[in-house]
């Protein structure tokens, strides 16, 4: 029994106007140990975001159950911090007030995180004055400031350009290496999935389920140069093969 346990969870969305219901997620199991960093990798439409939203408590599973640290998950709560793909900073709050939003955030912790994510000097800016990368760094700091037991990241860097994305990966990894928070990270980017994770969970095409998990045995601290090493390439070749089959299936089904 892990720190986070997802047991036989599936999700079916009711049909619109009497249509057939949509099966978004096949029956799925997942165990995450404390202080682990897991990435969930899958083609678009495979239900990986749905799985994360169920863990967050934002969606109720159709079957199965989710437990975090022994307690059942029924609704969203401050023990599961989340960073969304879309920019979800509160536009009427400054960077500092956004980071201070959480019920458990303190001034000292907010201040420390502002430094960690490199936003010193921007504390009093409103979100609209920030670039996409800065907004996501603020969102990350906001989630961390609330001191969650687990951090849920739903393609948080998906809307960013490649350079910014690479910097954000290193930043997040640096914070994880220092704090060792439990992280569940959803992505469709193979490089990102390998670079960030201790374990990659590869999902099948819609309706998705976790078809394989792969230990990533690369040393920490990790540096961006690692992405060009032979070990990295081996992992990449293996996962690419698995994900390719699924992507082809997804396209054939018209889901991508």
């Amino acid at each position: 029994m892990g720190f986070l346990s997802v047991e036989a969870v599936s999700k079916e969305f009711p049909g619109v106007r009497g249509g057939a219901p949509t099966r978004a997620l096949e029956t799925t199991d997942l165990r995450v140990e404390d202080n682990d960093f897991i990435t969930i990798l899958g083609p678009s439409g495979c239900g990986k975001s749905t799985l994360l939203r169920i863990v967050a408590g934002l969606e109720a599973p159709s079957t199965g159950r989710v437990q975090l640290d022994g307690a059942p998950v029924a609704r969203p709560g401050p023990d599961r911090g989340m960073v969304f793909q879309s920019y979800t900073l509160f536009p009427w709050l400054t960077v500092r007030d956004n980071i201070r939003f959480g019920a458990r955030a303190t001034d000292a912790r907010a201040d420390e995180l502002i430094g960690k994510v490199g936003l010193r000097g921007f504390e009093n800016h409103y979100p609209k004055m920030l670039s996409g990368g800065m907004q996501q760094r603020t969102a990350l700091a906001r989630a961390l400031a609330n001191d969650p037991k687990i951090l849920l990241l739903d393609e948080p860097f998906g809307a960013l350009d490649n350079q910014t994305r690479a910097l954000m990966q290193e930043l997040l990894l640096g914070i994880w290496e220092a704090d060792r928070k439990t992280v569940l990270f959803v992505t469709h980017d193979i490089d990102e999935a390998i670079f960030m994770a201790n374990r990659v969970a590869v999902m099948s095409a819609r309706p998705g389920r976790i078809k394989a998990t792969l230990e990533i045995d690369l040393p920490h601290p990790r540096h961006y140069k690692m992405k060009t090493t032979p070990e990295f390439s081996r992992y990449k070749a293996e996962i690419t093969e698995q994900i390719r089959v699924e992507s082809i299936r997804a396209v054939a089904m018209g889901a991508a």
Partner: protein, 257 residues
């Protein structure tokens, strides 16, 4: 120059805006001084301005203006006090919306001016009746527009707040309200403009003071100059209140502009 959505400079904006007023005055002057329209139907701008000065200097028109402003503001504030909280409740809580929305949508189409005879019967011809006309004309509009603003809060912001530990009450207070506040202020600005049309209608019937009453009196004397001056006065007051509202909104909600 006519590229879609291309912004204009602040200076050019002011010049262009003023230019239309000049154009309007020029057309008016041409029509009256040029003899295109008989003076009985439309007085020229110079006469209108002179009669306006007389109105203030000799006939105490400032009192009428004051009375009208107080009626508009009074009725409007009463409507806002009732309507804004109701609209917030409707926007935030779907059962409240389901309960009230159909009736408010129906009531919104009842013309405030059609209530005037009834209101005179119920409340007489005093101030209460004037305030009620404005109240009825504004309250349903505000409820509905506020409800839409609050109800259209971004879902992802609500979800983000939940994952940060906010409870239901906190979602309304800390997410929906601050997010909708600039739109609520904008709604009030719009409806205040409409309240001005209701007050004049209310003053045209059974009133002994106010700008509308002056316009009605002038009609009996066939003085189109005074009538036009009264109408222009309302326009000027409206423009000023609009500018104040806009300025206040930009100061209060710097993040939204």
């Amino acid at each position: 120059m006519f590229e879609p959505l291309r912004p204009v400079s602040r200076g050019a904006r002011i010049v262009l805006g003023a230019a239309f007023f000049v154009l309007f005055l020029a057309a008016w002057s041409l029509a009256t001084f040029g003899g295109l329209i008989d003076g009985m139907f439309l007085k020229d701008p110079v006469y209108t301005l002179r009669i306006g000065v007389d109105l203030f200097a000799q006939y105490g028109f400032i009192k009428d203006v004051g009375v009208t402003v107080w009626r508009v503001v009074g009725g409007f504030i009463l409507a806002a006090i009732v309507a804004v909280p109701l609209g917030i409740l409707m926007g935030a809580y779907k059962p409240v919306e389901a309960f009230l929305e159909p009736f408010v949508s129906f009531a919104r189409y009842l013309p405030a001016s059609a209530f005037i005879p009834l209101l005179i019967l119920w409340a007489g011809v005093g101030e209460a009746q004037k305030l009620l006309v404005i109240f009825i004309g504004s309250v349903f509009q505000i409820v509905l527009m506020v409800s839409v603003s609050v109800g259209s809060t971004r879902r992802d912001l609500v979800e983000a707040a939940y994952t940060l530990g906010a409870e239901a009450g906190g979602i309304v207070r800390r997410v929906m309200l601050p997010g909708a506040a600039p739109q609520i202020a904008e709604t009030l600005r719009l409806v205040l403009g409409w309240a001005w049309t209701y007050v004049i209608v209310a003053e045209l019937v059974g009133s002994s003071s106010g700008i509308g009453h002056m316009i009605m009196d002038s009609q009996r004397l066939l003085d189109t100059g005074q009538m036009i001056f009264g109408i222009v006065c309302i326009g000027v007051i409206g423009l000023v209140s609009d500018l104040i509202f806009k300025w206040a909104n930009q100061r209060l909600y710097p993040w939204a502009f």
